[in-house]
């Protein structure tokens, strides 16, 4: 088992190195450099930047050194937590990141808090008796909820809950300090899709387990149904959903973009998009790196959960 985890770790380090090199190379391109130069030199646009000025700037910044030297230099700075300065706002990128990631983490925490029990519970209920009325209702509802894109969910929830019933504020900018009420709509929007997806996966996993031969053995051993399900079925049926829950961190990083933008919530996704639209290259680069880092860690987490829940792998 240890070798397995170590191998995954090595693979992830390799992936991180590749991704960082890729990102560095992309943002090291002439096109992006000129943007930075303009921002730092205070010009009005790339067109007004004279070739001489640009050359001088490149030399001053030490950007004429070989690629690898600059890459490792850059890596070293990141290792010290120095992610550069935002071009748009006059703050360190790390400060900006810390704040927005914190906001998104709050959102993600609540999503997981509600998603895990609800979807595992519903999925197991549906999967235990495949084809029952309850199963069919749960299945159809979850297909529908996974079919509505978040942008549409956000719209419909806003219209009904905010504009129609007035139960929740329609924007979550948190202008007057942090309030949970403003979190309701983004949270629901994320939950509706995620829960539907996880319910479907849990149901599939559970119904597959219930049809397996070892469940037949357990039933024909004369165990009470409760024990068959709780002791024999659930444990095996949990493997897939638990790994998916870990992986959903990666998915959440995608989904928060649209939700945060729609509800004007100051989180990671919104920061990323703003940086992209404004051309705030330092922020964009750092944010992408962080996103990949989180994604890779969630992958590792999911692998470890898989190994822990699966004796076949654990003792292989």
């Amino acid at each position: 088992m240890r070798t397995l985890v170590l191998r995954r770790l090595a693979q992830m380090v390799l992936i991180m190195l590749t991704v960082s090199a890729l990102l560095f190379a992309i943002f090291d391109s002439d096109q992006f450099r000129r943007k930075v130069a303009v921002a730092e030199l205070g010009g009005f646009g790339i067109a007004t930047l004279s070739e001489g000025e640009y050359r001088a700037w490149v030399a001053k910044k030490g950007l004429d050194q070989p690629f690898l030297v600059r890459y490792f230099h850059w890596l070293g700075r990141i290792a010290h937590g120095d992610l550069g300065e935002s071009l748009e706002k006059d703050v360190a990128v790390s400060t900006l990141l810390k704040e927005s990631l914190g906001h998104t983490a709050i959102l993600a925490f609540f999503v997981l808090l509600f998603m895990v029990p609800v979807s595992l519970g519903l999925g197991m209920l549906a999967g235990v008796r495949e084809g029952s009325r309850l199963d069919r209702v749960i299945s159809v509802v979850s297909i529908v909820t996974t079919s509505i894109p978040q942008i549409a969910t956000a719209v419909l929830l806003t219209v009904v809950l905010a504009l129609g019933l007035g139960w929740a504020p329609s924007k979550s900018a948190m202008l007057e300090g942090w309030s949970f009420r403003e979190l309701v709509l983004p949270l629901l929007t994320l939950l509706i899709y995620e829960v539907g997806y996880l319910v479907r996966m849990t149901r599939a996993s559970m119904s597959e387990v219930m049809a397996s031969q070892y469940i037949r053995t357990a039933v024909l051993k004369g165990l009470p149904m409760r024990r068959v399900i709780m002791k024999h079925a659930v444990r095996n049926a949990l493997v897939v959903p638990v790994t998916l829950i870990c992986l959903s961190l990666n998915g959440l990083l995608s989904q928060v973009v649209v939700v945060e933008v729609f509800f004007q919530y100051h989180g990671f996704g919104r920061m990323l998009l703003d940086a992209a639209n404004f051309g705030d290259i330092q922020v964009l680069q750092a944010a992408t790196l962080v996103a990949v880092c989180v994604a890779v860690l969630s992958q590792l987490l999911s692998d470890m959960a898989y190994v822990l829940l699966n004796p076949r792998v654990r003792f292989a």
Binding site: I143, S147, P149, V155, L163, A276
Partner: protein
Amino acid sequence: MKGLATAIGRRGTVATLVVLIWVPLACFVMLGPLLGAMERYVLLPATPAVVALYGMALYRWRKSWIARVGATLICFWLLIAVLVPYLPLLDPDKPIAPLALPGTVKHGVFFLLGSDLRGRDMLSRTLWGSQRILVWGITSTVAAYLVGASLGLMGGYLGGWWDEVVSFLGNVVMSFPVMVLLILILNLLGQSGFNIILAVTCSSAPLIMRIVRGLSLDAKSRGYIQAAQTRGEHPLYIMLVELLPNVRGPLIVDACLRLGYTTVAITTLTFLGLGLQPPDPDWGLMIKEAATAALLWKYSYMLIIPALSVSSLILGFNLMADGLHDLELQS
């Protein structure tokens, strides 16, 4: 009846119909201005093809009502997309009367679904909007499939260092959250329809590759593959003739799901201001424009109509995938 059944049984028929729909639509949307006066006639062959395809779907999937509902939703939007130039609609881009509520007459014009902030007809914009999403959605999915499936097929069947390299690159791409990757690529390349295809291909191809690779690995141990190997068939023949047709079932299901994902991605990107550019009517764009201004219960139709449209299309893809999956399990 029997003749009909065998015609339906032929795989080529479906492919022909799909091409008959897609090519005119794609020409119309992508090359519209170049066609000039021809534009109106390009879409003519597509209408009967959609009807025929729908009939076939209903006949073939008579055992799964879920698949049939899905097909109905998709064919509804397809039919709208190929018929929309011939429908008696107002110009979707022309501001007529702002903020007309659904079912009212304003400035002497009747607005069935109302008008938007700038006074353009919602009905016309919604129906025209189906063209864009279908064309770009289907095209990017097909592109992603071409790349992903061929890489996966080679990785799974040939194995070796090729497989290692391709799988690693796939892992690298997959370690980006999808939306982050899409934003990054579009930011890097600039925003256009073709760059959307490129971005979607980049983000979906590794996933498709992984599925196809798994299926190929599984199929590789089958007797008929070994039989082909022992009679010295070329790997390309084995991959295309012996392997690919036998993994098409799960692939078709996945393709339906992926069409749904792509539709979501494109709409979302447009909403974020990153995808297709105005002024052409587009559902994501309609939500974006309305979301910034029309936050009143009275004007919520401007948000709801495009939201429901895109949801119904995606629901169609997902139901079809689910129904096909069930049919697959039954046989």
